[in-house]
Amino acid sequence: MAKKPIGPVRRAFAPWDDPAQPAFIEFRNVTKRFGDFVAVDDLSLTIYEREFHALLGGSGCGKTTLMRMLAGFENPTSGQIFLEGQDLAGIPPYRRPVNMMFQSYALFPHMSVEKNIAFGLLQDKMPKADVDKRVKEMLQLVKLEPFAKRKPHQLSGGQKQRVALARSLAKRPKVLLLDEPLGALDKKLREETQLELMTLQEDLRMTFLIVTHDQEEAMTMADRISVMDHGRILQNDTPATIYEMPNSRFVAEFIGDINILEGQISKKEGDQIQLFSSVLGDHLDIVQSIDVNVGDKAALAIRPEKMRISFDKPEGPGINAIPGEVWDIAYMGDVSIYHIKIAEAVTVRSIVANTTRLVERPITWDDKIWLSWNRDAGVILTR
C-alpha cells in the first residue's frame, strides 16, 4: 500500500474522502447476540490505516462488544470482520495482530513493569537482546524508566495506565484497541494523557480504535467518531461534522448541548427552507441541503453558542430573531449560560462568552431581549 505522507496538520488526513483508499479494518454486516440481547445489530464500518477512530456511546450500546470482536474475545453471530483484507473469522486472539489496552489495565500483578512490557515480546520468541531493547524504548516512550523494577501495586493510577499502554504498544500491533483508557484518571491527568495519546499515534503511525462514553475525549482525540446506540452506528463522521451537522436527535443531544425547536416544514426552495414552529407561532429560516418535503415534521437544532442575545432586534438578511425574556443566568466564569424563555414553558439556552467583566454586562434577569441566529447556524433533524 502506498503510504501518503502525513503533514504536521491533522486536518490533512482524510482517507475516507478518497474512494481509492483501501479499507484497513472492515466490519461487514456484523451482528452479535447474547441470548435474546442484540449487542451489535447488522453493523458495517470501515476504518482506514493510521486513523484514530472512536466508538462513542452510552453503556450497553455495543461499542465494547464491537471492539472485543476485533480483538477476538467474542465471535460475531453473523457477518465478517476484515483486517487488511483478511477475514479474521477463526483466528484466535493470540494470533491477531491487534493489541488491546484494557479498561482495568489488566497488568500482571506478579510481574514487574519491565516483565509486563516484555510479556508479549517473549511470546513471539524475540531474541533476549531485542526484547531488552524494545522494553527500554517503551519505558522511555511512556517516561517510566525509573519504575522498571516496580510491581504494579507500587504504581499510581496514571503510571499503571502508562505501563498498560507501553505493554500494548510493545508488539507494534497493526491496530491498538483502547477500551475506556482514561476512565480511571482524574480530569487534569486525563487531558494530559489525551494529548500524549494523540502525539503517540501520529509518531507511531498506527491505527487506533478507542471505545469511550466521554464525548469530549472522542472529540479531542479522534479523526472520526462513530456514535453508537442499540448496537447500531447512528453517525460516523469527523468530530466537527458530528458537532455541527448531527444527523439525528440522539447524536445532537449526545454530543454537547443543543436547543431543539419542534415544528413542520412550511416552505422549501432548494436549500432555502422554512420551518413553522407552533410554540413560537413563527416561521424560521434555515439554509441546508437536506431531503425534506413541505408538511414534514422536523426539528431545528441550534447549539447554544450560536444564539446571540441583544436588546435591539438585529436586522439583516439571513438572521432569525425571536423575542424572549431572561429566565436564568448561570455564570460559569469563562462563559455565562442564559436561559431564555421564548414561550410558555419553553426555554432555550444561549452561551455568551464573558469578554468583559461582570459589572459591565447589562443584560440581567427578567430583561426583555431578542434572541437571534444566522440561518445557517442550525440544522434540521428529521430523526
Binding site: A71, Y94, F102, F108, F147
Partner: protein
C-alpha cells in the same frame, strides 16, 4: 528512584481502651488455647513415668513453698527426649509420617486443582451449590466416612467387585490395611481443605488478566502456566499447609485403613499414651512433632514475607 509519600492511614476514632482490648483479644485466645496447653504438655514431657494419677511425677506443690519448687525443678529431665533419639522406631515413624503426608499433599493438590479451577470458571449462579457440595461431607462424622472406606476397599468390597465385574482384574486387590489405603483415606479426607483455598484464589482471579495474556500472544495452555498458576500460588501454599500439617499427625486414618507396615507418628503417640500409659514420652513425641512442623513453616513464611518486601 522516585518515591512518593503514601497517605498515612489514620486510626479510626473511638474509645482508646476498647481499641486496646480489641487488639489484645487475639493474643489472649492464643495464650489460653495454644500457649498454656503447650506449656503443660512440655512440662509433662520433662517428667518421669509414675504409677499414680496422673501417671507422672514430679508434681508442683506450692504448699511446701520455695523448697517445693526446688524439688519440682530437680525432678524434671531431658531423659524422654534422649530416649527418642536412642530408639530408631521414633525416627522412622517421624520420617514415614512426613513421607506419607508429603505424597498425600501432592496427590491432593493434583486432584483438587482441576476441581477448584472448574468451580471458579463455572457460571456464577452455580458456584454456591458447588461450594456447598465440597463442604457437604463435613456434615457427616469424619470417623464414619473413614470407616465407610473399609467397605469400599476390602477384598470383597465395592471397588474390587466393580473391577472384577469389569474384567480389569482376575483376583481381588489387597488395598485395605496397606499404605495405599492410608493415602486414599488422607487424600479423600483432606481434599476439601485443598479445594477451598485454591477456589478462593482462583475465583478472585481477574478474567481480564487472562484475556490480556491471550491478547499479547499467549495460547490458552501457556496462559495457565504464566498467569493463572503463579497468581493462584497463595491458594496452593495455603492448601498444602492445611493438608500437610494435620496429615503428619494423623492417627485415625492409619489406624483404621492402614496395616502393620503403616508407621505413623500419630499412631506411635497413641500407643505410648494409651497402651503404655507413658504420658511423659508421649508428650515428648508431641513436642518434637510440633517443632518439626512449626520451625520449617515459620522459616518459609519469613522467607516469603522477605521476598514480598524486596519486590
Amino acid at each position: 528512584m522516585v518515591t512518593k509519600d503514601l497517605p498515612v492511614k489514620k486510626t479510626k476514632k473511638g474509645s482508646p481502651l476498647l481499641d486496646y482490648v480489641m487488639r489484645l483479644l487475639p493474643f489472649f485466645w492464643l495464650l489460653l488455647f495454644f500457649l498454656v496447653p503447650f506449656i503443660i504438655v512440655y512440662k509433662i514431657s520433662l517428667s518421669t513415668i509414675a504409677l499414680s494419677i496422673p501417671p507422672y511425677e514430679p508434681m508442683l506443690s506450692l504448699k511446701e513453698g520455695i523448697e517445693g519448687v526446688k524439688t519440682f525443678w530437680d525432678g524434671l529431665s531431658w531423659d524422654n527426649y534422649i530416649f527418642l533419639t536412642e530408639d530408631p522406631l521414633y525416627l522412622s515413624a517421624y520420617l514415614s509420617s512426613l513421607k506419607i503426608a508429603f505424597f498425600s499433599t501432592v496427590i491432593a493438590l493434583f486432584v483438587a486443582y482441576p476441581i477448584a479451577y472448574g468451580m471458579a470458571r463455572s457460571p456464577r449462579e452455580w458456584q454456591p451449590t458447588l461450594l456447598m457440595l465440597v463442604i457437604l461431607p463435613f456434615w457427616t462424622s469424619f470417623l464414619i466416612r473413614v470407616y465407610a472406606w473399609i467397605g469400599i476397599l476390602k477384598s470383597d468390597g465395592v471397588l474390587n467387585q466393580l473391577l472384577l465385574w469389569l474384567g480389569v482384574i482376575d483376583s481381588p486387590l489387597t488395598i485395605l490395611n496397606t499404605n495405599t489405603a492410608v493415602y486414599i483415606g488422607i487424600v479423600y479426607s483432606y481434599l476439601p481443605f485443598m479445594i477451598l483455598p485454591l477456589y478462593a484464589s482462583l475465583e478472585k482471579l481477574d478474567g481480564s488478566l487472562l484475556e490480556a495474556a491471550e491478547d499479547l500472544g499467549c495460547p490458552p495452555w501457556k496462559v495457565f502456566w504464566r498467569v493463572t498458576l503463579p497468581l493462584s500460588m497463595p491458594g496452593v501454599i495455603a492448601g498444602c499447609f492445611l493438608v500437610f500439617i494435620p496429615a503428619v499427625g494423623e492417627f485415625v486414618i492409619p489406624d483404621i485403613l492402614g496395616g502393620s507396615e503403616t508407621l505413623m507418628i500419630g499412631k506411635t503417640l497413641w500407643v505410648e499414651f494409651f497402651s503404655n500409659r507413658d504420658w511423659p514420652l508421649a508428650s515428648a513425641v508431641a513436642v518434637i512433632l510440633l517443632l518439626i512442623l512449626v520451625i520449617p513453616i515459620t522459616l518459609f513464611q519469613r522467607h516469603q514475607a522477605k521476598q514480598e518486601g524486596h519486590d
